[in-house]
Symmetry: C2
Subunit: 459 residues, 2 copies
Amino acid sequence: MSKLNFAIAPAVEATEAPPIPRAQAWGREYVSTSSNASTAELLDLSQGVPRSAPHPDVLTSLAKTSSDPATARYGPILGEPTLRSAVAKEINIQYGIDDHEGGVQADDIAITTGCNMAFLTLLMVLCPPGKSSILLPLPAYFNQSMCLSLQSVKPVYIPCDPQNKFKASLESARSFLASKLGNTDTTNGDNDGILPRMICLTSPNNPTGAVYDHDEIKKWYELAKEYKVALVLDETYRDFVEGEDGESRGVPHRLFEEKDWRENLVCLGSFSKGYRIPGHRLGSIIASPALLKHLTTICDCMQICAPRPPQLALAPLLPDLRSDLLSASRQLSHRRHLFTETVNSVPGWSVISTGGYFAYVQFPSDYQYASSVLGLKRKKLGSEDVAKVLATKVGVVTLPGSFFMPNLKDDEAWDEVVGGDEIKEDKWLRFAVANVEDEVVLKLGPRLREMNKLMGMEE
Amino acid sequence: MSKLNFAIAPAVEATEAPPIPRAQAWGREYVSTSSNASTAELLDLSQGVPRSAPHPDVLTSLAKTSSDPATARYGPILGEPTLRSAVAKEINIQYGIDDHEGGVQADDIAITTGCNMAFLTLLMVLCPPGKSSILLPLPAYFNQSMCLSLQSVKPVYIPCDPQNKFKASLESARSFLASKLGNTDTTNGDNDGILPRMICLTSPNNPTGAVYDHDEIKKWYELAKEYKVALVLDETYRDFVEGEDGESRGVPHRLFEEKDWRENLVCLGSFSKGYRIPGHRLGSIIASPALLKHLTTICDCMQICAPRPPQLALAPLLPDLRSDLLSASRQLSHRRHLFTETVNSVPGWSVISTGGYFAYVQFPSDYQYASSVLGLKRKKLGSEDVAKVLATKVGVVTLPGSFFMPNLKDDEAWDEVVGGDEIKEDKWLRFAVANVEDEVVLKLGPRLREMNKLMGMEE
C-alpha cells in the first residue's frame, strides 16, 4: 500500500475498525482444522442480522418501484411523504397512542439511509466536536463508540449493572450530570468546556439484549429533561419487544404520551431488522420538527435523500406487514426462551440478560483460571480468550464482551466510566440469536459441555 | 413548531439550507399570475438533474436485483467487488489508460451513497474540524460550502477568472499556500493553527460549467503535491466531457498516468448523472487504498454499505452502457452549442463558460442600473434581483450567481477570498441545460428579448 503525501485527520486515524473480522477468522480456523465433517458444522451466533428473506410482498413491491423511472429521480431530503405518514401511523399503533389524542405525526419522522446514519447525523446535530460529551451505557455498540471517536465527542460511559440484567445505572448518570452541570437550581457545575449534550439508551440493547420497561425509561426521560440534554432512544430492535403475555408485541414505552416529548426525546429506528432489508438501507428518526429542520441541513449534505425505491415499496405495505412483524417477534421470543433454557442447563453457564436479537451470557468463572489448561502463560483469561477457544475448538462463534468495552485494556480510560466496578469484569459473551434456526440453538448444549471439558471443568 | 429543551450544535445552526426553494417559488409565481396559457409555459433551467429515464436495461436489471432476497442482506462497506472492478475498468477506458501499464484497480474504488456523501466523508477523513481549511474555487457548489460550514472547516475561496472562462486562479492559490505553509524549502509559514488540507476542483464545474483541461489540472496537481495537500477532483459530470472532435467522449485528464497519483490525488464520481439514477443513490471515490482504509471507518458509521440493488444491477451493465453514455454526451454537447448560440444572439447576453450540465451567463450590464424601471429603490441590481424578474415576469427559472457566493452580503467574509476582485461583481446566472429539451432552449431567445424590453433596454 503506497503511502500518502497528505495528512489524515487525527480523530479518524485514532478510530479503530470494528473487531468483528477477528471473530469471523476464529470461525474459519475451526472449519479448516476440524477433521470430522459432522463436528465441523460451525454454529455462528456472532452477527446481529436477520436470517430470513424479506416478506414476498416486499420483494414484489421492490421490483416494481425500482424499475419505475419516476423513482430514479431525486426525492425529498427527509423522506417520501407516503412513508413518513405510514411510519407515523405504525408508531402510534405500536406505542398504543390514540390517534385523536395527537400522537406522532408525519412531520415528526425523518427517513435516513440506515439507522447508523440516523445516529451519526443526530450526533452532528447535537454535539459540537471537542466540546461535548454524551452519556452512553457500557457495554456499548461499537459503531456508536466509533462515531463518538470520529466526531471527537467524549463518551461518558455509564456502567450497566449485571445484577440488574445489565440496565444502566441511573444514579451514576445523575451524579455525573450533577457534578458537570451543577444542581439545576444553582450553576456550580464543574465546567471544563466539555458539556454533556445527550443520553443515549439502546432498548432492546445491543450487545446485552437488556430491555428497559416504560417506568425505567421514564426515569431517564425525567433526568434528561431536568438537565436539558436530549434523551435519545436507539430502538433498532423495537419490533422485537415482547408483550407481557409473551404473544403480542410489547409497547416499548409510553413517552409519546408526554405532552412535551418533542422538547426532550429523539427515537431512532431501523427498517433493516423488522422488515429484513438491511441491504436496501433505510432508517428513521422520530423528533420534533424543530430538530428535523437542522437535520435537513446535514442530510442534504450527506444523503440528499435516502434511496427511494425501498421507501416507495414499503409505504403502502406497512399495515399489511403488521402480522409478519408479530410472527417474527413471536418466533424470536420462542428462540430466546429455548436459548436461555439450553445455555442455563450447562454447568457454570448463565444467561444474564436477553431481548431483541441478543443474549449476554456469563461463562463459567472457572474459565478465568484455566490458562494452564490451554498452555497459555496469561494469569487470568478474559472474554476474548474464551470466545476464541469457543470458536476455534468447539465451533461456536460469539463476540467477546471486551469488543463492547472500547477501553478495557487502557487503565486511564476507565476514568471515563462513572462508578460501577463490576462492569470491568471481563466474563461475558454476546450471542446473537436472530440469525440461526432453533436446531442450531439446540446443538449449543453439547458444544458448551464440550467446552467445559476442554477447559478442565468436571462434569 | 415546539421549542427544544436541549441545544443544537452552533455550526449546524449557522449552516443555511440551500436557497433553491426560493428560485422555485419564483417559478410558481409566474405560473399562477400568467393569464395566457401559452405564455404561461415555464422554462425551468434551474435544476442540475438528468431529464430522461434510465436506460431500459438498467431498469430491468434493477427490478431483478431489488427483488433478490440475497441483496436484502448487508454488503461490503466499500462496495460490491463486482461494481468496484467494473468501475475501475470503465475509468481506465475513459481516461485512456493501457491496462498493462497498471491503471486504476478495483482496490482504488469505493462506492458511497451518492457523491455528496463522497465529498463529506473525504472532508471528514482529511480535515480536522476547527483546525483545517480547504481551497475551493468561487463560485462554489452550495452543498460543498455547507459541508465546510457543518464540519467547521474554513473555506479559502480561490476566485475564478471570468476573463478565463471561470477557471480558478492558480497564482492566488499558490500565493495563499506559500503564505500559509511557507516555501517548501523553509518552514516560515503563517501558522494560526488552521492548516490547508486539500484543494478541491470540480470539473466540469457546478455552477460555472468550466472544464479544466489536462494541462491546467496537471498544474494544480503539481501545486498540491508541492505543498503536501490532497488534490480532490469532483468529477460528478465527467461523463459529459467533450472530445476534441466534438463527437467522442473526452479524456477528463491524464493524472492516473502519474506514477505517484495515489499519494496526491482523490477523484469523486457519481452514478446519478451518467446513468440517470439519482434516486438510487450511488457515488464513487477513486483513491489510494491507504486512504480508503480510513474511509472505511467513516463509511461503516455512516452508511454500513451503499444500497446494494443498484450496485449489483449496474455492475454487469457498464460495458454495454458506454454507447448510451456517448450518445447522452453528444446530445448534451449539441444542446450546449444551441444554448450558446441562442443566448449570445440576444443583445447584451453572453455565455461566459459552459460544460457538463451548466452554463454561466452574464446578463446585460444595463440591468444593474434598471432598478427604477422595476420601481425598486435599490441602487444597483444584483443577480438575485435579475433572476427573480426573469422567473416571475418572463417565466425563465435560473439560479442567480449569488447563490454560489456564500458570503456575498457579508463584507468581512471577503477576507476569505484570496485576490480577484472581479469575481465580486454579481452579474451572472447559472442555467442548467441537462433537464430541458432543445425546443425549450429555442424558446429562450424570445423570452430573453422580452426581458430586455421589460428592463428598459432598446432593441
